[in-house]
Structures are given as C-alpha cells and as structure tokens.
Symmetry: C2
Subunit: 332 residues, 2 copies
Amino acid sequence: MAVTIKDVAREAQVHMSTVSRAFSMPHRLRPETRDRVLEAARILGYRPSRVARALTTGRTRNIGFIVADIANPFFPPMIKAAEHTARSRDHHLFIADASEDPAIEAELVDALAKQVDGVILCGPRIANAKIENLSETIPIALVNRKVTGIPSVTMDVVHGARVAIRHLLDLGHERLAYVSGPRQSWTNTQIRRTVGATAGDRGTVTVLGPNTPTEDAGMAVAAEIVRTGVTAVLAYNDLIAIGIIEGLDALGVSVPGDVSVIGIDDTVLGRLTRPRLTTINVPTADAGTAAVDLLLQYTAGDEDASRPAAHVSLPTELIIRDSTAPPRGSGS
Amino acid sequence: MAVTIKDVAREAQVHMSTVSRAFSMPHRLRPETRDRVLEAARILGYRPSRVARALTTGRTRNIGFIVADIANPFFPPMIKAAEHTARSRDHHLFIADASEDPAIEAELVDALAKQVDGVILCGPRIANAKIENLSETIPIALVNRKVTGIPSVTMDVVHGARVAIRHLLDLGHERLAYVSGPRQSWTNTQIRRTVGATAGDRGTVTVLGPNTPTEDAGMAVAAEIVRTGVTAVLAYNDLIAIGIIEGLDALGVSVPGDVSVIGIDDTVLGRLTRPRLTTINVPTADAGTAAVDLLLQYTAGDEDASRPAAHVSLPTELIIRDSTAPPRGSGS
DNA sequence: GATTTGTGTGCAAACGATTGCACGACACCC
DNA sequence: GGGTGTCGTGCAATCGTTTGCACACAAATC
C-alpha cells in the first residue's frame, strides 16, 4: 500500500516519532538527522495520512460548505473563492447542495460533522434556533444570516435595497413591487423590511411572493405584476428578475418601457440579457474568502475563551444598466 | 467530546465490537441485543467517526472532484449532480478548482489522494501520460477525456460539432472558423479534427486560437474573425461564443446578420443573450452522475482483476436559436 | 452422553499518525 | 568531579473504529 511514516523511519534509521517531528518541529532536530529524514521521505514519496493525523489531533483540516443550490449562479464564485482560500490554509472543502430544503441542510451538517472542523452555511434556510443548536455540535460560520454568538459574514443588502428603491423613486416611479424570495431567507427579510421603509410616502410597495429563487418563478409572477399595475419591481435575485423580464415580454409588456426591473446579486447573467439588467452587486467571492477565514480563526481559538463572535459586513452597490427607466408618461 | 462507540457499549452493556456489528452486520446479532444497542446509540446520538472507520477499513467514502474552473457555468450542474449521486451512495465530495492549470491539477490529485477513495477529473488539462501515472496512486475517473485503461465518460462532441457544421453549411456558409479552446482540452482536439473533415469540399475552416475558455477571450478574438472574412463561427464553448458576439457587436458587425455564431455547452447563458445563442447541448448533469457511478464501481471492484475500464458516451444535440442565419446575400 | 455444528459475544490487534515522558550524552558551572 | 541543564531521540499510549479469532453455550447428530 501507500508509504507510511514507518517506512520513512526505517529508511532513515530513526524512530517514527522522529520522522513526525522532522515535519512538525524541524528546529528541534539535529540538522543532519532532519535532512536524512526529509531526504528519505522525498525518495519514498511520503505524504502523511490526513486520516490518521485527524484521528490523533482531532482536527481534520477539512471544511464543510453548504449551499442552497450549486446551480444558482450566485454561488459558484463564492465556492471558488472559498476553496482557494481554504487550500491556501492547507484545508480542503467538502461541498454539499441542500436543494433549498431546511431538513436536508440540517442533515448535511450532521453528516459532515464527523469529518470536518467546521461548516459554513451559505444563505441557510434553517431556523435560527436550529442553527444555534447545531453550533453546539460543530463550529459554524454563516453567510447572509446573523445569529448572535455565531460568526457570520453578510452583504449589506439593506443599503443595496435602499439605493435601488431610491433609484426607482428618483426616476419617478410611485407604484413599486418587491418580488420576494424564499421565506426562510434572512436576506429576503432584510430587503422586504427595507423597501417599505425606504419608499415612505414617496411610493407604495406591494410584496409578491414568497417565491423560489428561480427563473421559472420569475416568469410565473409576471402576470401578477401586470395585475397589480406597478411600474417598477425589485426582485429577490437576478434569476427571478430575468424570469420576470421574460414573463413580461411574453405578455407584451416591455422592460423598461412599461415596467422597470431591478435584480440582486449581479451574476454573469445580468450583463447578457437584453435589456441588460440593472442590479445590486454583492461581493460573493469576498464573502467566500471571509467566511473561510472567520471559521478558521474561530476553530483555531482556544476552546475556553468566550470570544466575541466576529461579524463581517460587505458593501453592496447598485449597477445601473438598461432595465430601469422613467415610467411611461413621465415628463422626460 | 463527541460520543464514541465505547459510550454506546457501556450504555448498552455490551462490548464495543458488538456495537460495531449492530450497524455493519445486524443479522448476526440476537435481535434483543441489537435493539438494545441501537436504542442506546439513538439515545446518545451516536454517529460513527468516519475518520476512525477510514483508518481501519482503508476506505474513506470520500471522492475528489476536480474541475478547471468552478465559475465556468458548464460545471455547476455537473458538480451538483455528482454531489447528489455521491450522497445517495453515502459518499461525500471534495471539490477543487484547478484554475485551468495542469500543474495545480496534478498537485490537487496528490493532495486529495490521502483522504479520498478516488478522484474525478473533469475536462483535465494534464497530459495523458501524467494521468496514467497518477492513476497508479489512486483510482481516477475522467470526464471529457479518454485514456486507455481508465474509466471515463465523454460527451459526443464529435457528433455535435458535425451537426453544427452541417447546419452552417446548409444555411449556405462556405467560409467558416473554429474558435478553439485550451490546447490541453481533449474536447477541443476532437472538435478541431471534426470541423475540417465535416466541411470537406463544401467549405473552408479556419482555426483561431487556442484561447482560454472565457468571455474575454471571445471578445478579444472578434477582430480576428472579421479580418479572416468568415461568415460563420463555431466556438469552443458558450462563454467564448458570447464574448465573440459582444466583440463583434462592438465592431459594428451584427450576429447573425453578418456572422453566424454557434456555441457549445448549452449553459443557462445561451437562452439569455440577444440574439439567443444557437449551441450544442451537452448533458453535464448526466455526466456528473455517470462519473461518480463509474468511479464507485471501479473502486468497489476487486483489486486483483484486470477489469476492462468502463466507458460511457453521452449524446449531444444542436439547439438552434437565433445566432445563426443564412449569410448575407444568399438567396433566401 | 459424547461429538459435532452453530450462534452470539468478547478480546485484542491492527490502521498511521501525534505527543508527553523518560533517558542518555554532553557541556557547563563552581 | 559531582550536580544541573539542555538537547536530541526513543518509547509507548492514544485517537475510534473494524475484524479475525477464541470461547461459551445450546442445539443437533449419532
């Protein structure tokens, strides 16, 4: 089978503990011994067994990364960044897809728990209480969710939504709609709360949904948008926004001529559609990196100390493209 | 710490080996003992340590999944499907992004080797020889590459490319170009060989590239396309095709008015662009599933037997949308 | 009733590393 | 020249499972 620490020990004529130390505490060995061991290891092509190491040290150097839907273009850049940072810290990433299902999500945490040092939940759909629960079993870091006592990184969608709504208001829209996403999404709640407050007495905001965050859901909601008579909509994400545009188009309603549409996420998709999508950029890659860093420094910390759970908030930005315009009949 | 098999043994008043057997060979236990053990395990919330199990059995029940670029929309559906199938077989998936770099790719295989039962290489950029090499260390399954003796699943791009070229020929195009992808890509080679042969004496095919499979690369090659004077191009993938369309547009060349463009992969993107992209559909999700199955049955097989390496070929299909049309000035 | 055949459990040795402890060698100090 | 350190290395226990072997007991065989 594979070459073990014992083989190296024999080859270098030392005890296996010495081999182990040649890697973990090289400075404590006589240089000549160290070199002999390292050379032997090199010749034999020795790579320590991460499994065996995990068993003694109790640390696997693996991280679980759970997302609601890998195929949602929001996630890949985040996964990619997370994987890269993890790797640069000599960690590997398990990835799992919860299919937007809270039960599966919780089950995945349990399943992964036995072979990771911690797990990152991205846009979790599980309840806060359950998360607190799970976090007693295994260190958890959150993306786009805040739970006291648990480290998290969020994107400032409140700011993003506020700017987006103001943009619509400034264009002259008075009847707005928010096409909401999954009920369990923290981001969704944040946005929903923000839109009404931002519109204030400058406009009314109808909330449509909840919806699954897919293009199909967006298409399906188009008819309802027309029925409500709003002239501008903010969608939970780009996927829904694009679906809405398609759906509206199918009904003969033009964007942005008749209705303005704003998405959220700034995925690749938005630049490609016609009209090109006005959307809120969120730094997904940064979030992936930050989440890994947070989790790692969390698990590295001494178990005793009641360290304050770190929280990172990332800035968002409105990208104005072609899916928004003044309402028909406005002066301009 | 976590509850171990010993805790369950104590609780159920049996030896730990009995606990172990209660899970692995329940039928060999007296029903009453088995139930007592299972009940104790349930109460304590026992989950066997995958790490410890891996150490004794030599099987981790983990799979490494290496792709060239997670953010390329070609991969996420494949990853998603692979993860789901793996999970249904009680396996977990490590995912790693090789950044289109052969050296990193090989290094990743080595790094993961110590904690997986096998690895799946998707669209590998490493040389065949190196793959054969690595496969002596660790079971490998391939997606979109054929190496004798190694199980693989490929998509029938030869058929796809043939149909695509014929489509262009039938529209009346005579001067074609193939905008190629990464040099190390097997798919790329297959297509390049096919296009010329298919055109035969009905048309000429200029090969442009190699290029990295990104939108930017596509944009960059637009000028060259104009210079060659071709009226239709087949691109290595959707990303490049979309870049080409953008680049052409920036040069005042219309698609499909002046130039027809066909992509490959049929990612989400293609339906969104205007004009909507004519492209070759490849079943990425099926490939992900098939690769996991192949690898699993490969690693399950007895080590001795020289089993014939299984190979799966998946069908492709031309999706005709709006980016292709007869050349300007043709009769129709 | 002695011998064979099962059946259900316990025992203990792996698996491949890490790590606290012990110990010999050597240098240093007074 | 006998204590006192320091340094480099070996020893062996440990992590949490699995699994071949042994053994006690019961049922079946002659």
